[in-house]
Symmetry: C2
Subunit: 406 residues, 2 copies
Amino acid sequence: MGLIVQKFGGTSVANTEKVMNAANRVIDTYKKGNSVVVIVSAQGHTTDELIDKAMEINSNASKREMDMLLSTGEQISIALLAMALEKLGYPAVSLTGYQAGMYTDSNYGNARIKSINTERIFKELDKKNIVIVAGFQGINKYDDITTLGRGGSDTTAVALAAALKADLCEIYTDVDGVYTADPRIVMNARKLKDISYDEMLELASLGANVLHNRSVELAKKYGVNMVVRSSFNKDEGTVVKEVDSVEKMIVRGVTRDDDVARIAVLGIEDKPGKAFQLFSLLAKENISVDLIIQSIGREDVKNITFTVSRTNLNKALDTINMNLGLLGATEVKYSDKLSKVSIVGAGMVNHPGVAATMFEALYDASINIHMISTSEIKISVLIDAKDAEKAVNFIHNKFKLDQIVE
Amino acid sequence: MGLIVQKFGGTSVANTEKVMNAANRVIDTYKKGNSVVVIVSAQGHTTDELIDKAMEINSNASKREMDMLLSTGEQISIALLAMALEKLGYPAVSLTGYQAGMYTDSNYGNARIKSINTERIFKELDKKNIVIVAGFQGINKYDDITTLGRGGSDTTAVALAAALKADLCEIYTDVDGVYTADPRIVMNARKLKDISYDEMLELASLGANVLHNRSVELAKKYGVNMVVRSSFNKDEGTVVKEVDSVEKMIVRGVTRDDDVARIAVLGIEDKPGKAFQLFSLLAKENISVDLIIQSIGREDVKNITFTVSRTNLNKALDTINMNLGLLGATEVKYSDKLSKVSIVGAGMVNHPGVAATMFEALYDASINIHMISTSEIKISVLIDAKDAEKAVNFIHNKFKLDQIVE
C-alpha cells in the first residue's frame, strides 16, 4: 500500500478500447489499497489535429493561444478516463492542470513547472477518489493556460510524484521497457531490468524514444523511482533509479540516431577566435551543435567539422554561407546520409578498452568511422546511414548484450 | 463608441472560412472604436462528437465529467477565433469561463450563473484587446468546470452584457432575425424590426429556435438591448427590447411546434384529487405538461387530456400505465402525429376577436382543432401534423403579417 503515480501516453488512451484498458490497469493498482494519481496525455493524434486546425487559420499564431487550444486534448482524455472508471464502478475525479495546482512560468509552449499546490489532489485522495490529472499543462501567474512542450506529460508525472512524495512513478507506454538496443533492428535485444538516471538521460538524448530527458532529469533531482512499462501487457518493465543499485553491466545499450547531419567548414584562417565566431553565429540561430572536430588543413588554414540535427541543416548552411567572409573560410561541405551510433553505460569510465572493443566490432563489420565522440558514460561514432543497422547488431553482439552479466 | 458584446453560434464558427468571417465581423465593430467582447460556441458538431465519445465509454457518465469534456468544445473555438484576429492584425485574448470570472452553482450540465467577476475582462479591454470568452461554461465554488445547458452561450452573452453594462448584445446566428413565421414554410414571412422580451419568450418556447428562453429572461431582467442577426450578411436583424417601444402589430408571429404528443387518460373516477395525483406522478418523473383539458365522460367519470414533448411520451405512458389502479382510470390513448400552432403578440390582450380570427383562418383551411390554449400574449391550437404547414400559411395571411401595420 502506498501512493502510486501512473502516466498513460497518447497511444495508451487512443480509443475507447484502450481507455478501458488503461482504466483496468489503474483499478488493479487501486484495488491493492494504493492511492492512485493518474496522468494522461491527449488521445492518439489529437494534438496534431488541433495543430492542423490552428495552422489553417494562422500559421503564426501566438503561443498563448496555441496553449489554450492544445490543452483541450488532455482535458478530453482525463474526462474520458474518469468516465471509464465510473463505468467500472470506481470513484474517480479528473483535474485540469490548473485544478491540480500546476503552476508554471509564462514560457508558453515550453513552460517550466514552478510549484505544485497539492491541496486539491490530497483532498480527493482522502475521499478515496482515483485522481486523474491532465498532463502537459499548467497555469501561470496570470491564470493563463501554459503547456510544457515535448514529453510534457512525463514531466507532469515525475513532478507530481516528487511533490506528492509518491512511492513509485509508473510510465505506461507502447513499449514494455528500455532495451539494450532497438528490438526492431536487433533481434536479440534484451529488456533491461533497471537503468540509472544518467544512462537513461544519455539513451534518451541518443534516440531511444522511451522517456523525455526533462522527466528523467527531474526524477534524478528528486530521487523519484520510475518504471517504464507497457500498458498492453503485464511485464515488469524497466526501473530507472540511482546508479549504485543497477545491474553490473559495463555497456547497457546501443542506440542509433538518424537525425544527424555533418557540416565541414574548410579553409578557415588559422587565427584565434574563429571557432568561437562560428559557433556563436549558430547559437544565435538556436542551432545546437553535437560532435565537433577541428583539424589542420594545408598551410595556415584549419577545417572545422561538426554535426547538427537534420532539421537545422539548411538554417546552419545559410548562416555559415552568409558569413563566409567574416569567418575567413573558403568552402562548406555537408552530408545528411549519416547516423550516430552510440554505446551507453555508467560502468564504462572504470573499464578501459570499451572504446577499442566498439571500434573492433565496426572493423569486423567493415564499417568506416567518420567522427568519434566520448563522454564518461557514452561513446558515439558517426558512420554512413546505410551501415547503421549492421553496426548496431555487430556492437550488440560484441558486448554480448543479450546475456545478463552479473 | 461603446461596449458591444457579440455572440457567434456553432454554425457561425463551424470551419476556417466561417471563423475568418466571424473575425471580420468583430473587426468591423472594433474599428469603429468600440470595446468588443465576443462569446463563442463550440464549432459545428463538436459538442455532439464529444457526447458520442463519452457514450461509447459510459452512457451514464457523471455530469461533472461530462462538463469537463464538453467545455473543451468552446475552448477550442475561442483559441481559433483569437488566432484568426491575430492573423488579421488585431490584438485578441481568449478566456475560458473560469478566466472570464463566470461563477455558477454546482448543477453540472445545467448550471446557473451566480456572479461574474469582470476584473480580468475590463483589464484586457483597457489594453485595447478584443476579448473572446468561451460560452456555455463557468466554474463553481470547488473550482470545477460547469456548463450552462442548452442555449448556454446565449445566456453567457446576455449575462456578460448585463455585468459589463454593455451598450448592446448582438447574437450572430445562421438566421438573419426573428420572422413573422418560419420562412421555410411561409413564403411571404416578414422579418420583424423589433420584438418585445415577452413576445420573444413565447416565440422561443413555441418552437422558433432563434434565442433560448433563459437568455431572453435574463435580458428582460437586466434590460439588456439585444439584436439577433445573421453572421453571413449585413442585414439589420431584429432588436429585442421592452414592449412599449416595439412596432404596433397585434399579432407578431405564427409558430409551429412539432415536438408535441397528446395523451388522454379516460374513465378517471370523478373524485377530488385525481388530476393532482396524475400530474404529480408525471412531475416526479420530470415530465413537463403543456396544454391540459379536463372533460366529463359518461356517468361518474372524467377524462383528462394533455400534451407532453415527444421525447417524454413513452416515459409518460409507462408512468400512467403503472398507476392506472391508483388513478382509478380505465384507458390511456395517445397520438404523436400532432402539431401545436400558435400566434404571439403583446397587443393581443387589448384586442378581442384575435382568437376568433385565428379560428376563422383554420376554418377557411378546413383544419380541425383538437385542443386550444390561450395566455395574455399567445393563442395555441393543437392540430394534425399534416395540416400544420397549411395552418401557418392561412393564419399568416389572415393577419396580413407580411405587411407592416403602423
